[in-house]
């Protein structure tokens, strides 16, 4: 028996994206966003509303997207509830330090091991920001023997859209483009 719940933003899982930007003086900020995703081999989108981050994007037209990991859940949640418009030392309180990306005019958060470095390409109605992924930088600690990202080392956290929980990644249960061949 199915029940109708109305119109809700219920994709599961959702990512926890930490958006890094500089203001006009080169001061770094970060915010937390779950509404977004990949929309092409070199493109992503993120819905941001109105924040210090969007002020910064209007000036710099560049941003990073770091992936929140289980080791930094508290800091990643904090940058989602404290406003960069009101809290001058937000990054310090989060315990985040930054270096400038070699590819775009935006900060990489040293403590988060994976960052997508993006140029802002378009702002769609409703505050949807489209970015071109110029580079992905990863700390060596999350790379597997093949030199690529190991999701089991990265340990991204997962956002529960229904009850706002954060979850860990569980065990591997299958292999895409492979398991389905059993039915062919």
């Amino acid at each position: 028996m199915r029940k109708n719940l109305g119109s809700k933003p219920y994709i599961f899982p959702q990512p926890v994206l930490i958006i890094g930007t500089y203001d006009e003086n080169g001061k770094a900020n970060a915010m937390n966003a779950a509404w977004g995703g990949i929309v092409g081999m070199h493109e992503l989108i993120v819905d941001l509303g109105s924040h210090k981050t969007t002020d910064n994007l209007a000036v710099k037209k560049a941003f990073t997207v770091s992936i929140a990991d289980a080791a930094h859940t508290v800091a990643c949640d904090y940058v989602g509830i404290a406003s960069g418009r009101k809290v001058a030392d937000k990054m310090e309180k989060a315990g985040f330090t930054t270096v400038k990306s070699d590819f775009v005019d935006a900060p990489i958060i040293n403590e988060l091991p994976l960052a997508l470095e993006c140029e802002l390409t378009e702002i769609l109605p409703g505050g949807k920001y489209l970015g071109k992924i110029i580079n992905v930088s990863a700390d060596e600690s999350i790379l597997g023997d093949d030199g690529d990202v190991s999701i089991e080392k990265l340990f991204p956290i997962i956002f529960d859209a229904a009850h706002s929980g954060y979850y860990r990644l569980g065990d591997k249960v299958g292999q895409a483009f492979s398991d389905g061949k059993k039915l062919m």
Copy 2:
């Protein structure tokens, strides 16, 4: 030490979205997509390329997005590798049966317990489909005591963009809009 990996579609986690559509004769189809996300309280986006699904969307301008769950990993992977343009009995092979949504002209897959029922609102360059979420329907089996979706009952699978693995949801590690208050 960080390493540059080039431009890659590396958001973690990514969802496994099963897109349901009808063709001009009312025949149901489904495909698997990981590139997309929520972009507003009532909006989602999904990048689809060119498929039977996009043929159908041109005609019906409506679709459902079902969330792939751990119990149907093989079937959900199958609909991503078999083409509805070539395989006439794709839904039967997947073991999927459907009923028409009460809200949009698209099929709900009975076997998958959560579906977002959407109207197509816009196609952006590159095959990005924007949808307005008209209703969410959920099987009672995934609802908690509060009548809302329980992610721990839904058990969505998680796509690993780097190595194409499917993963289970793990344990809860935090609470959004709450844990970060420790740093305020």
